[in-house]
Subunit: 271 residues, 3 copies
């Protein structure tokens, strides 16, 4: 049974946008299945940066239609024994190398089936040793979008690679986390979530936030609900659209002003 | 009545291409309306740079099919009282925050209806305070593309925010303008247009162009019709494809050679 | 006869992704032919860099479905006498200025028809002197995708511009080539191919590779089959997915470590 609407295939890679690599993958997909809708999530994941790719995908995959196939190619182990995976989640599919890049998906999805892709008849031939994005992952996504059964790609496995996402730690009236990502505006997105630290949402709560910058501790004293609420140059904190605590400066870059990068420690002290 | 062809939704944002933000908007659109064709205009507008976004959109929207929906999310006031707008132009639609980013559209379109979007049943739920691109603007575009009537989104308003685009000034035989944009080739695109200064198109006219560079006035003495007509390293002027006077250097960057950036003053002296 | 599936039009330009230029071309295409599928190959070709564009396209065009139209706009001679071309290859079409940017296509395709596009009724009107991507190339691609006969665009020519791609030279037990491209990972992609130097594929062969870096000759002694096989910081060589010899460093940038850029000489000594 063909789907009534074009199936969406999303792409997340560290290939950048200067080379032919992404286009080769898209060509392979469209040759097999010209009716899909391809959406770029990003190709600017830092080279080999599995954590960054994992975070980016985990922030947006839920917004796509059911049956969307999320193709992730951050693949430093290409050509080695690392396995190609097809993961069936609650409503979406994921195709990626077995290197942990789907860890947040394993965490967030209630029901999951993880398969080791072995069905070589779906692959592009010949298979290079260095570009499985083009030769294995892209063609599998295209065939899956054509309504091939997930079970036809390989057997279920349970020993897939999975790493623990860095979590904030709550101890008494203190929460310790890190800057997970600096966004395009210079906002510092942390791993401290309102879900885990519900006090952050309480208007009655009083707290002080400290960021470990290169040149010492920086304090953030104002907690707001929108980016526009800070005075010029004043560091503010808010819960961003992904549910995480962010350190920001209205109409400016907190990264530049505070002088921190990814990994910087962030502490919230309540009361 | 469903349209015979996929409706186009264009996206113009300052979200960059490293983060999940653009993808989240696209997912939301495709979940509501899987049959649209999404076209990126640019996501590299400078952060909060309303003027740059306004200029970029105004240079290309007319080339799109009728019924195209132009979605613009440069939104420093997200979460505050600034209103979301749906603008019906002569043949296209525009969805954007009410912060002046559509000013050139208001100027160019003869007939316009501007509506304050208030119909919350079109919104993504829950609505975050910090990402209306995903929660308000994108879903409204998707529903409009699905043939919802513009009037169903909210009431007409006339007090929308509108700023005057920087215009060149003609005084006697002198025209004063500014560099509005430096393009990817380093060409300096000014706000001096052939429409307003028709002498620029006269082959008989003689004129001298001066650019206020960081290290003094630079003269441009050669007026040509194509980029290839200048000698190596020689500054040339021409009317670009958008109708504006441009200062260029054949196969090189006028920005680098002349040492100016956006906002630099440009003077044309006739006779 | 309309095609059963959307025709693909690919875009390769040096327009970057900050300006309105690419979007204007896409608008023109979709206004004429709303049913095509547009795929960006890259818009980050260096300004006027015909060789880079030629290489990028030549590495990926074969992966696209038959009837794909590859639109290439690297056009320093726009508005001059340089001709617009429509090239019919074995299964794909190419539309580009006649400046040599299709040279590798002329080399790789067995059967080719090259036409000088002169049918002005296909053009966007008025035609600017400075943006034929929008006014000539894009509309011709859209009309061709609509099933216009290639012969209706203009007459066949044989004196099209063609340059020799830089080839490796084999002399006795030595091969001399150059770095043609540095990819997003910092891998140095050379013009030494396994096709021309089959010894590279022999596991029995012994060889030493030398790269002319800025600060002297650098040796590469390890020949591997996957990027992951090198020790930390160790330069390795392999045959990449395009069939070319590449100099790499596992999970790091060979460009940065070795200190070379495009054009650097690479020597392979056998035995």
């Amino acid at each position: 049974l063909a789907p009534a609407h074009p199936v969406v295939i999303t792409l997340t890679t560290d290939f950048g946008s200067n080379d032919h690599l992404v286009a080769a993958m898209k060509g392979v997909i469209l040759k097999i299945n010209p009716d899909v809708q391809i959406v770029d999530i990003t190709h600017n994941v830092g080279p080999y940066d599995i954590l960054d790719a994992a975070l980016t995908l985990s922030q947006c995959y839920k917004y796509f239609p059911s049956r969307t196939i999320h193709l992730v190619v951050i693949d430093p182990g290409v050509g080695t024994q690392r396995r190609p995976l097809l993961v069936s989640g609650e409503t979406n599919y994921f195709i990626a190398p077995d290197n942990g890049v789907l860890s947040p998906i394993y965490e967030k999805e209630e029901r999951l089936t993880v398969r080791h892709i072995t069905a070589e008849h779906y692959f592009h031939s010949p298979i290079s040793n260095t570009f499985h994005g083009r030769d294995i992952f892209a063609p599998c996504a295209a065939w899956l979008a054509k309504n091939s059964a997930p079970s036809s790609f390989g057997s279920e496995i349970t020993d897939f690679v999975r790493f623990a996402m860095p979590k904030a730690k709550v101890t008494g009236n203190m929460v310790k986390g890190v800057v997970l990502k600096v966004d395009n505006f210079g906002n510092l997105v942390t791993n401290i979530t309102a879900e885990e630290v519900p006090q952050l949402l309480s208007t009655a709560a009083q707290f002080k936030i400290t960021v470990a910058a290169k040149d010492g501790q920086k304090e953030v004293l104002k907690f707001v609900t929108t980016y526009a609420q800070g005075a010029q140059g004043e560091p503010i904190a808010l819960i961003g659209s992904g549910g995480c605590l962010e350190i920001c400066i209205a109409k400016s870059s907190a990264q530049r002003a505070i002088g921190v990068t990814r990994g910087a420690e962030v502490t919230v002290l309540f009361g």
